[in-house]
């Protein structure tokens, strides 16, 4: 397939159909967007710690976002929060994470030369790229970008009179997200088809690495739920531009009486969260897959309870479709419906608990090799425990009354979804960097990066639980308008300090990444002594992955430290010895 065609600069680096290059395109775009999103959070954290003051960081913003005194305008604070959420949820942790590792790992780990359709795969990136351009350009629109929160609830998002960001900025947001959904559907279908059809000889489903299982469920979730977001967005476009009333009813805004009647903003919320909740797992599952692989390799031990891990992933994926209402307990929905969603939501704790116990059992009596990837994998498990537990409060409708939409929620999802997923992403980058670029990332910088990030991240997000329990709502430009929150300014300062420090620490990673692409030490073929198929490919990238025949698979991927073996790992390509049981 690949041996004969010539690659030009354009087909190799730009309109490339090789899954490995597409993965890198996703990764680098995702990283750039992560920097943008992180800077936005740094800026609004500065506003929260020092409300009403100016800051050097505000120089990064368009001038019209500040008032004469150089202070951030309240509606632009909301614009920053909205764009931060949108970028991190969709651009970094969906496209950046799934796009990178699904593309990179699926063909390499199942033993395929490329994705089922290289062309669709390329299109998926370029749709994403155009979506990125549109979203970034919306920041520079005169009235500002979308400002109604990343959940863009109408009527706020539908009416430019309600907030300036709901004008052109919101239109661009909707265009961008539409392109994004198209891109992610093209990618998702490709992932599913490839995993089901292109596995090499011997690679039965029971022998798939957990990364691939996780990516498979992620892709299924995406294919089933993103179209709902698309239709949800289309109806909003209709309401905004063509005078329909799907989401609007009985509104007087700025003294203007609108004609719309009969619509319901709650319909929007149902449609949005029907994607929105599976989206949480679209973000989390690939990270858990990566972490399973990294923990097993670096513990030099099989992942504990492989079948239970797959079962737990499946159960989480299924349940994620029937819990969306827990985002809407306070919308006035029928209390009985609230009960149903409480029940289904709390059930997710069971497969989650299984996963945590299995990770712990994998570490028990291991021989842990602390690569930077392993540190981040342990960080993911820690974040998953810390953040997952507070879900028991938020999922319980009666308790949600007092923490709904407060900083408790912000702390919860940043830890369980944000940190777990971003740690998983870092683990993946450190682990597969040698495969991506043929070079190693610097270990010492990796250690520094992990500890800096780990300490700062808990410093940012753990105190938020207390703010939330004290009743502080999220998305407040400042909490100085309420005397009851006066005592919270110290906590806000602590959070901002750690947020800024954490942002600085990320430069270590960026430096390490780009430096190592060009100057890192050369990688050996299988630097982590791993069992999976990607490490049987040559170090130099070739289109088609294996120069000769695709290897056959004879065992599961987790034969580490198996008694009776010569080394502490047995690659999947090694046939079972006579009388050897599979596991």
């Amino acid at each position: 397939m690949s041996d004969h065609h010539k690659e030009t600069f354009i087909t190799k680096y730009i309109f490339c159909q090789d899954h490995k290059m597409i993965a890198k395109q996703f990764l680098i775009t995702g990283m750039l967007m992560a920097v943008v999103g992180m800077l936005m959070s740094a800026i609004f954290r500065v506003q929260l710690a020092n409300p009403g003051e100016t800051s050097i960081l505000y120089n990064l913003l368009p001038g019209s976002w500040l008032n004469e005194a150089g202070v951030l305008n309240p509606d632009k604070y909301l614009a920053l929060v909205t764009m931060h959420g949108t970028i991190l949820v969709f651009w970094v942790l969906t496209a950046g994470l799934s796009g990178t590792f699904a593309n990179f790992l699926i063909p390499l780990q199942i033993g395929a030369r490329d994705m089922a359709s290289g062309f669709l795969n390329m299109l998926s990136y370029w749709f994403f790229f155009v979506a990125t351009v549109v979203l970034v350009s919306s920041i520079y629109v005169e009235s500002g970008p979308a400002s109604s929160g990343w959940t863009i609830y109408p009527p706020l998002s539908a009416l430019p009179q309600a907030i300036p960001g709901s004008g052109t900025g919101m239109t661009l947001w909707l265009v961008s997200i539409t392109l994004f959904v198209v891109g992610s559907l093209l990618g998702g279908l490709n992932y599913i088809v490839t995993i089901l059809n292109l596995r090499t000889k011997g690679m039965s489903m029971q022998r798939l690495p957990l990364t691939i299982w996780a990516i498979l469920f992620t892709a299924i979730l995406g294919v089933l739920s993103f179209p709902v977001l698309l239709s949800c967005g289309l109806l909003l476009i209709f309401d905004r531009s063509f005078g329909t009333s799907f989401y609007l009813s009985d509104i007087i805004i700025n003294g203007e009486m609108l004609h719309n009647t009969g619509g319901s903003p709650i319909l929007f919320e149902h449609l949005f969260w029907f994607l929105g909740h599976p989206e949480v797992y679209i973000i989390l599952l690939p990270a858990l897959g990566i972490v399973s692989e990294v923990i097993s390799v670096n513990s030099r031990k099989p992942i504990f309870g492989y079948k239970a891990m797959v079962g737990a992933l499946m159960l989480i994926a299924f349940l994620s479709f029937i819990v969306w209402g827990h985002h809407m307990f306070m919308t006035g929905m029928n209390p009985f419906l609230g009960s149903v969603f409480t029940f289904t939501t709390l059930l997710i704790a069971i497969p989650s608990a299984i996963k945590v116990f299995n990770y712990l059992a994998t570490l028990w009596r291991a021989n842990i090799r602390f690569t930077p990837a392993m540190l981040f994998a342990i960080g993911t498990v820690s974040a998953f425990i810390t953040g997952g537990l507070t879900g028991l409060i938020l999922g319980d409708s009666a308790l949600d009354i007092n923490v709904h939409d407060t900083y408790f929620v912000v702390g919860h999802f940043h830890i369980v979804m944000g940190l777990s997923a971003i740690y998983g992403m870092f683990a993946g980058v450190y682990h597969w960097f040698p495969k991506m670029y043929g070079r190693m990332m610097n270990k010492h910088l990796g250690y520094l990066h992990f500890w800096g990030t780990f300490i700062c991240a808990y410093g940012v997000f753990f105190p938020m639980h207390f703010l939330g329990l004290a009743g502080l709502p999220r998305r407040y430009y400042t909490n100085s308008a309420f005397p009851m929150f006066d005592g919270l300014s110290d906590i806000n300062s602590i959070i901002t300090f750690f947020a800024l420090a954490g942002a600085v620490v990320q430069t270590i990673f960026l430096f390490n990444f780009f430096y190592s692409i060009f100057k890192g030490t050369k990688a050996t073929q299988n630097p982590w002594k791993s069992n999976t198929l990607e490490w049987t490919t040559p170090i130099e990238r070739i289109h088609g992955n294996w120069p000769g025949e695709i290897p056959s698979v004879h065992r599961w991927p987790y034969d580490y430290s198996k008694p009776g073996a010569d080394e502490d790992f047995i690659p999947q390509t090694v046939p079972l010895k006579e009388g050897e049981k599979e596991h």
Partner: protein, 325 residues
């Protein structure tokens, strides 16, 4: 000037990182080993760091629990609020117990089982008995928690409202208005098309129930008297959040929502407990525009006599709209 300084700092940071990388590469060249190979020494350092930072994390959490203990939910001042708080205590207790078991376990394992060159890991791929235990036990615990949660939810949501005083809370960017139902305890009908500068809530004055309704910019409640709040919004979604009463409900344009509760502590009593600055506050808790952060209304809980004095100072809608021209 500042920009130049920032640029200088950035350059210095990058230069430092390059030097760190170079030094680590040179050192390992001297020792004749691969710089990025994880050695036993690395495992020891990182393993110990796991224990140190893990312990530090636990201490940090404990410190927060002690130092910020007063923030763990403001005192509840409603009948159902007390029930919610018991559920919260049980859930919080469970969470903390699990947190203080699982997290130390994770860091302890990381330290204890750090790699050594001559060690071999224990091949342990699954154990059905263990797995059944840690599936069944969480299931049982959760069943209890779910049942307890649903009971509390039921008590909260299905409160008896037959004798409740009816009050409408009306939200618009960025202001709350309250409408007391008057002596008949019935709110007059309303329609957004009837909104004028004078009739800000669009009340239908043809409806005889509307005549004795009264508008106010703060809400007064009688202690231990059930109240039924009905919510409307004029423009975007707002959320009426009364943290001390454990009450929250969205206000949605085109839709009527409600929440019933019984306040149990007067403002005066709360001032004695919490300090003289204390007030019951209704906050907006759903992003609603630029001034979302400052959309509030005061609630006052008082005795029947105090309430009667206050309500007498308010004029009815009939007086406001029909007689005053």
């Amino acid at each position: 000037m500042t920009n130049i300084l920032i640029a200088l700092v950035a350059i210095l940071i990058i230069a430092t990182l390059v030097q760190i990388t170079r030094v680590s590469e040179l050192l390992s060249e001297l020792k004749n080993q691969d710089v990025n190979k994880v050695t036993d020494k690395d495992n020891k350092t990182q393993g110990v760091l796991m224990l140190v930072v893990g312990t530090g994390f636990m201490v940090f959490v404990l410190w927060q629990l002690v130092a910020w203990n007063h923030l763990l939910l403001p005192p509840a001042s409603s009948v159902h609020g007390a029930q919610i708080d018991s559920l919260m205590q049980v859930s919080m207790g469970l969470i903390l117990v699990l947190f203080f078991i699982l997290t130390p376990m994770l860091f302890f394992f990381a330290t204890k089982y750090r790699g050594r060159k001559n060690n071999t890991a224990y091949f342990f791929s699954h154990n059905n008995k263990l797995e059944v235990i840690w599936t069944v036990v969480p299931t049982i615990v959760l069943t209890g928690l779910i049942i307890y949660g649903l009971k509390t939810w039921d008590i909260t949501m299905n409160a008896d409202t037959t004798n409740a005083t009816v009050i409408e809370v009306y939200g618009k960017q960025f202001q709350w208005t309250a409408r007391m139902a008057g002596e008949d305890n019935l709110l007059g009908k309303s329609n957004y098309r009837g909104v004028t500068s004078k009739n800000a809530l669009g009340i239908d004055m043809e409806d005889e129930n509307a005549a004795d309704d009264k508008l106010a910019r703060e809400v007064h409640l009688v202690v231990n008297q059930p109240v039924l709040l009905k919510f409307r919004s004029q423009d975007v979604i707002h959320s009426a959040f009364l943290p001390h009463f454990r009450v929250q409900m969205n206000c949605v344009p085109g839709l009527s929502t409600k929440f019933a509760f019984t306040p149990t502590q007067t403002t005066t009593e709360m001032k004695e407990q919490e300090g003289q600055d204390f007030e019951y506050i209704l906050l907006c808790n759903k992003i609603c525009g630029a001034a979302h952060y400052n959309m509030q209304m005061k609630f006052v809980v008082e005795t029947q006599e105090e309430y009667d004095t206050w309500i007498a100072t308010k004029i009815t809608l009939k007086e406001k709209l029909l007689t005053q021209k």
